[in-house]
């Protein structure tokens, strides 16, 4: 971001806006009823394809359902998959990365070669391959997206492990008779949490987009589930007549990802400053 006073101020405002948006989306995911009294599945044949207006800010879709309500309820699916898959990937990443860092050279380099190759691909592509193998379905989307997120966390966890290992701390602890596993859990893992936390914040954004992408292609949950990617897909054939059905879910996804990225970058910069 650009420097200077105006730059810093703009940066601050951006950060607050991003953080605020994330809080709002999280609230939508956890307590959607605060935002809308309507039922996302309730149809109304007299209100088919109405444009945005006062009582229905995002308009209605082909069966008269309120788009705003569906977007709000959709937050729990998208955010749920995003956060859940990222959390699972984090845990797996820490375990595998730490083990790789502590393992003998040979095993470590073989494993890391595999991870490097995976890292060369964008997450969406790996998720697509994973779903090709698992087959379509909402649970499989979460799994696929989680699998795709793991390699990045493995690498960071391993890097941190190596730092601690090289610092002689591990040798000293071993010398004192402390079991290596205890060393790992008590000392290595806490060190990895900070950098991983930063990456995970940005990572949630990628995971959400990947999951929405798979749903958009029809590989995830089915109608009438109000998942964001699915909502976009539903609006696809209405672009000429009812642009609002596809437009607003997309805006939400974009804003969520942008916010996660902004917050994540800020955390990263803060971390770098200290280190």
């Amino acid at each position: 971001m650009s420097g200077g006073l105006t730059g810093r101020l703009r940066g601050r405002v951006g950060l607050i806006a991003a953080a605020l948006l994330l809080v709002v989306v999280a609230a939508m995911a956890v307590a959607p009823w605060i935002f809308t009294p309507l039922d996302p599945l309730a149809t109304d044949t007299s209100q088919v394809l109405q444009p945005p207006a006062w009582g229905r800010p995002f308009g209605t879709d082909q069966t008269g359902r309120d788009v705003f309500t569906r977007v709000v309820y959709g937050a729990s699916y998208s955010l749920g998959v995003g956060a859940g898959a990222t959390a699972a990937a984090l845990v797996v990443g820490i375990i595998v990365g730490t083990l790789a860092g502590l393992a003998p050279r040979v095993i470590d380099s073989v494993a890391m070669r595999g991870v490097e190759i995976l890292l060369a691909f964008p997450e969406f592509l790996i998720a697509l391959f994973a779903i090709a193998v698992l087959g379509p379905g909402p649970v499989n989307v979460a799994t696929a997206v989680g699998v795709a997120a793991v390699p990045a966390y493995i690498r960071v966890a391993r890097a941190e492990t190596l730092v601690v290992r090289r610092s002689g701390y591990v040798e000293a602890a071993r010398g004192l008779g402390v079991h290596p596993l205890r060393v790992a859990v008590a000392h290595i893992v806490p060190n990895t949490l900070r950098p991983l936390g930063v990456i995970a914040t940005i990572g949630i954004g990628t995971t959400i987009v990947a999951a929405a992408g798979l749903s958009f292609l029809g590989l995830g949950p089915q109608d009438p589930t109000p998942e964001w990617g699915l909502l976009l897909s539903g609006g696809r054939n209405l672009l000429g007549q009812a642009w609002w059905v596809a437009f607003f879910p997309g805006v939400l996804i974009t804003l969520t990802v942008v916010s996660a990225t902004v917050v994540g970058r800020r955390l990263r910069r803060a971390g770098e400053g200290r280190a």
Binding site: L49, Q62, T63, G135, P136, Q222, P224, N237, L238, L239
Partner: protein, 543 residues
């Protein structure tokens, strides 16, 4: 035939009301205002790629039937109103016991690879249909299924088809492209490649020759200059007027429509009702209601929920079907009143259109009377602690319009306390559930030019009998209807069946799909058959 979800099209919207012209007689689907021009190319946009299913003798895809018609001829031809006229067979005789059909063939017909069309060619083709290696599900049932006894060559221009019992639909089915003729040389040398198809493989005697096939993208047909054996009464007996027919595969409906309005293609098929508003007045739109079984719900009567006829009738009458169909399709598709479409020859019972339909009060009363009088915390009815719930299975990908309709139906039934759980399963999982009978209802429409399609849907053990109905009286009626060729007798028997279903609600018809063809004023002379599918042999460009 089995209508894949791709045959019914996409979301409804606020659109200009376009009246669906019911085309019952073979009429021109386009009216160019200029003069006819010789030669040229007509481009036709379609929604599905028949890839991998190009063998007319085995494929169940509608699109394959549409796209292979220009290439393959049949023994007879069926006009849009149902009458049968000579084509490759000049005349035919049916024996008194109705077990033998003797056809006299034309002697001037050749396949585009030079082979001669004769009785031996007919036998080779019909043998191919019933050969297990062909894996034919549709053509083999059209030719008579278990009633088909064989084909005999009497002499080069006389062939006899025999049956073990009278099979009324045979003559109409003989007009279908599924019972069309490959060159015998292709059958002998390329039988394993027929499904992949392509130039040199998909060889017939038709007015066009398949000259190029790019899967996923396009098919190109060139005129057969030697063609001189059009069906009796066709506008032109000789070769086609145009030089080339260029078929483009454009899966999204909005995409096809834009291609038409921007002039990229001249004709489009399978137009979604929602796209009609984008098509201006200088285009001709022809909508043909599909004969056969309309898109319906099949209630499994062997499971507890729907074993009670009162519950079935409450289900059928408990949601506002008119409003739902209107919301999803505007006025482009009409709601169905019977298990047969109005254009199915010799069968439709129009009296059913006056029957009462949506009555929530009556449904509520009926359910109360049947014992489902308690309600649980979600508002659904319960009886002895069990919730009134039905499992609806469909196989993915589910067509969007149908998914929206399903939503509206679920929502409507929720209001009378009936829970409907819609499971959209992958084909493998769907098949498992379907074959095990592990469902309460499922859905499809079945395109067929003959009412005999009800036999597989209502007859004991019928493959399409998703309701698991087993009623000897119904079986007897179905058997009588297939065994007589007299139109009015058949109409009576099928009317009986339709009314029986209205009383027993084993099948709940939802809407009558239509095949909507739209063409620009650059083309004229495109006729439609009984399914609404375009016939290009007499088509031409106009100035």
């Amino acid at each position: 035939m089995f209508s894949r979800p791709g045959s019914f099209r996409i979301a409804g919207s606020l659109a200009l009301v376009v009246s669906a012209a019911l085309v019952l007689a073979g009429c021109s689907a386009s009216a160019g205002t200029g003069e006819k021009v010789e030669g040229g190319t007509i481009s036709f946009g379609v929604d599905v790629d028949p890839v991998g299913h190009l063998d007319v003798h085995s494929s169940q895809l509608d699109i394959n039937a549409i796209l292979q018609r220009p290439v393959f001829d049949s023994l007879v031809s069926q006009k849009a109103d149902g009458t049968i006229v000579p084509w490759l067979a000049t005349k035919w005789q049916v024996s008194d016991d109705q077990l033998q059909y003797t056809f006299t063939l034309r002697d001037d017909v050749t396949f585009s690879d030079g082979e001669k069309f004769d009785a031996a060619a007919v036998k080779a083709n019909f043998d191919h249909i019933v050969d297990p290696a062909t894996e034919s599900a549709q053509a083999s049932s059209l030719i008579g299924g278990e009633y088909y006894a064989g084909t005999e060559v009497i002499d080069p221009t006389t062939v006899r088809v025999s049956f073990s019992q009278p099979y009324a639909p045979f003559l109409a089915n003989a007009a279908s492209v599924q019972l069309g003729f490959y060159s015998p040389k292709v059958l002998a040398e390329h039988a394993s490649e027929l499904k992949a198809g392509g130039p040199g493989i998909s060889v017939g005697s038709g007015p066009f020759i398949l000259s190029k096939y790019t899967p996923g993208s396009e098919l190109v047909y060139t005129k057969n200059p030697d063609y001189n054996w059009a069906p009796e009464g066709a506008t032109a007996q000789g070769p086609a007027t145009i030089d080339e027919l260029d078929v483009k595969i454009l899966p999204e409906s909005s995409v096809r429509t834009s291609a038409l309005t921007s002039g990229q293609v001249d004709v489009i098929g399978d137009t979604a009702p929602s796209s009609l508003s984008q098509i201006g007045d200088n285009f001709t739109v022809t909508s043909t209601e599909s004969p056969g079984v309309p898109y319906s719900l099949y209630l499994n009567v062997t499971r507890p929920v729907f074993s009670d006829v009162t519950v079935r009738k409450a289900f059928a009458g408990g949601f506002d079907l008119d409003a739902a169909v209107k919301a999803v399709f505007n006025d482009s598709y009409q709601r169905a009143y019977s298990i047969l479409g109005p254009t199915t020859p010799d069968s439709y019972d129009a009296a059913l259109e006056k029957s009462a339909s949506f009555d929530a009060d009556a449904a509520n009363d009926a359910l109360d009377a049947a014992g489902w009088s308690e309600r649980d915390s979600d508002g659904y009815r319960t009886k002895d602690g069990k919730r009134l719930s039905a499992r609806w299975i469909s196989y993915t990908p589910v067509n969007e319009d149908n998914a929206n309709l399903a939503n509206l139906i679920q929502d409507g039934l929720k209001k009378i306390g009936f829970e409907v759980v819609h499971d959209q399963l992958e084909p493998g999982a769907y098949l498992d559930a379907y074959l095990a009978g592990d469902y309460d209802l499922t859905d499809w429409g079945f395109l067929s030019a003959d009412a005999d399609v009800l036999r597989s849907h209502l007859g004991t053990g019928g493959y399409q009998n998703a309701s698991h109905l087993s009623d000897p009286e119904i079986d007897a009626t179905l058997a009588s209807a297939v065994a007589t060729t007299d139109g009015s007798t058949r109409a009576e028997l099928y009317t009986k069946l339709q009314q029986w279903n209205a009383e027993n609600a084993v099948i709940v018809p939802l809407y009558v799909p239509e095949y909507i063809l739209a063409s620009s004023d650059k083309v004229s002379g495109i006729e439609v058959d009984i399914h609404g599918w375009p016939l290009f042999s007499g088509a031409s460009l106009t100035k």
